[in-house]
Amino acid sequence: MAEGREAPRPAATVMLAVEDLARHFDVSRPLLQRLLAGEGRRSLKAVDGVSFEIPRGTTLSLVGESGCGKSTVARLVVGLYPPSRGGIRFDGLPLEQARADAAQRRRMQMIFQDPYASLNPRWRVLDIIAEPIRAFGLVSGAAAQRARVAELLTQVGLSPLDGEKFPHEFSGGQRQRISIARALSSHPEFLVCDEPTSALDVSVQAQILNLMKDLQARLGLTYLFISHNLAVVRQVSDQIGVMYLGRLVELAEAETLFTAPRHPYTRALMEAIPDLEMTGRQRIPVGGEVPSPIDPPPGCPFHPRCPLVADRCRREMPLLLPPRSQVGTVVACHAVEEGRDPPPAPAGGDQRIGTTATAL
């Protein structure tokens, strides 16, 4: 397993360990079209060699451009896709082994990015939320099950009476809360949250984030968290991984990532955060073309857009390494490794104090 860059921990403190994880999709056109155009099979490397560990009771967040592979990592981690390469360990067990055992499966749940697609439209909310409770035989008796569902609905800011309704009778954010209640119903210890609050208004979002933090403090839950909203990410994370084109380009303690972002892409993302203060500051979108994941650039995948690009970057893929004089961070960048990047500066600078922010 990935041992190494940080102080070694006893194995049991790591809830999820991902080692050189990859998932490639075949995106070839149909055979006939391929023959006519004289082209071969094409594969899309949605995730390509990602490694991280999440210590029990902590939160690791993944951020990065749309399409960089965050949801694919999430789906791999809960076993919805088989990996093309690499390994996943859940609480010390290989994932296939954990998924084969109902007692282990109960311990991991996922909140999906798309709350519409993940709720069965023909079931009442009560049954949707109770389904894991029944499947794992957690609470017996209809009355006790109802009471548990009522408690969960209240926790996510809905009413126990809402259990009688069907998903289509709810707004987008209300459906997202139903899927959160469902994910919590089996008392999971590890939760994969793919954009759990992006459909919620900020006051309900605050309630849900407070609930998640509270559960973590009381019950030691472990989270893999995905969000475009950097302010939200800052509130919940212990570690943050920045992904670009299927790879991690920076992995750091959360506060370090905000106070001293190192990778040129991480820095560019921070510049692109919208300005709530209405200072008239122009957002600087990350320049250049978003590269195609089917045909990634050689060398460092960020090189066509990078202000620090040098010859070496066009040839050689940078490895995730700790930069000089900075513990707890790993960065995949030649400029950082060579020490020719500008000194780290906090995200956003002071004109952005108190901003919200959407998104990465």
Partner: protein, 340 residues
């Protein structure tokens, strides 16, 4: 500017809109007296509590309320012409040509059986009468404009082969490609990273400025609102709680609900132990309290709020549905609210 027929009044005018749902347990009123206008080239941001009726307002405007939901009162005018009373087939034509809709849920808008290119091409051909080649060229152009990499290669992909954010961008290009005069956008940038988001917002603003497109932009993202909207409407429990210029509503909200909402925005510059929110939850539609719907959660509640329902009242910088701003009330807005 293209020489469109000179528009004098607002592009969209919504007056006293009521939407109801007959259910087994009686009639639910989801929207109750919603009014606003959107001028040519203007972006109206709509924010508010989850379940407040933002998507419902959008659905009523584009004539896509899901049955048994129905418009029970009020009127909706597009360039002065009533569209809420039109027969389905006429409305469908207007919707395709004059109103572009971006839904909250990208999967229901996209047909999973057709490639994204085919969906764009068919939409443009239905409304703009283009040749096959021209339409395909434009489809690729639209995918590029919304930031899909290698658009020429991916135009023949199916929706499920795209990530969440990429599908969202396809939906955006579908809504814009027929060059509508009104765009109703429900959470258009929620699934997008900040960089793509900046690009989409720039695109929407350019359309508003250059083509005079009017836009209703529903979003939870206050950063997007601050950057894009000219005016903002804050909704709560099926009504407009506050409406006014963006800076006033975001920086110095007058309605206690808007103030609580703005205070709930998580800070970017530090980690806090506990995020501030608004205590309690929005009432269910079947249990809206008498008087002001926000009264059980309001830190400033007083007697009048529990009996009489406030209409929008001039506050100086905005209009807010709150008795604190009625000079005749026994209680007046505290300094904190009055001056932001």
């Amino acid at each position: 500017m293209p020489a469109a027929a000179p528009i004098t009044g607002p592009v969209l005018s919504v007056r006293d809109l009521r939407v109801q749902f007959p259910t087994r347990r009686g009639v639910l009123t989801a929207l109750d007296g919603v009014s606003f206008d959107i001028a040519p080239g203007e972006v109206l941001g709509v924010v508010g509590e989850s379940g407040a009726g933002k998507s419902m307002t959008g659905a009523a405007i584009i004539g896509l309320l899901e049955p048994p939901g129905r418009i029970a009162g009020g009127e909706i005018r597009l360039q002065g012409e009533r569209i809420d009373t039109l027969p389905q087939d006429r409305l469908r034509r207007i919707r395709g040509r004059q109103i572009g809709a971006i839904f909250q849920d990208p999967l229901t808008t996209l047909n999973p059986l057709y490639t994204v290119g085919r969906q764009l091409i068919e939409t443009m051909q239905a409304h703009l009468g283009l040749s096959d080649r021209e339409a395909r060229q434009r489809a690729i152009g639209w995918l590029e404009m919304v930031g899909i990499p290698a658009a020429a290669q991916r135009v023949d992909s199916y929706p499920h082969e795209f990530s969440g954010g990429m599908r969202q961008r396809v939906v955006i290009s579908l809504a814009l490609c027929a060059e509508p005069i009104l765009v109703v956008a429900d959470e258009p940038t929620t699934a997008l990273d900040v960089s793509i988001q900046a690009q989409i917002i720039a695109l929407l603003k350019r359309l508003a400025r250059e083509k005079g497109t009017a836009m209703m932009l529903v979003t939870h993202d206050m950063g997007v609102i601050a950057e894009t909207a000219d005016r903002v409407a804050v909704m709560y429990a099926g009504r407009v709680a506050e409406i006014g210029p963006v800076r006033a509503v975001v920086k110095a909200p007058k309605h206690p609900y808007s103030a609580g909402l703005m205070a709930s925005i998580p800070p970017l510059d530090r980690k806090v132990a506990h995020l501030s929110g608004i205590e309690g939850a929005m009432p269910r539609l079947s249990a809206i309290p008498p008087g002001c719907a926000f009264n059980p959660r309001c830190p400033h509640v007083f007697d009048r709020c529990r009996h009489e329902r406030p209409e929008l009242i001039e506050t100086g910088s905005t209009r807010a549905a709150c008795w604190l701003y009625d000079p005749a009330s026994e209680k007046q807005a505290p300094e904190l609210l009055r001056h932001g």
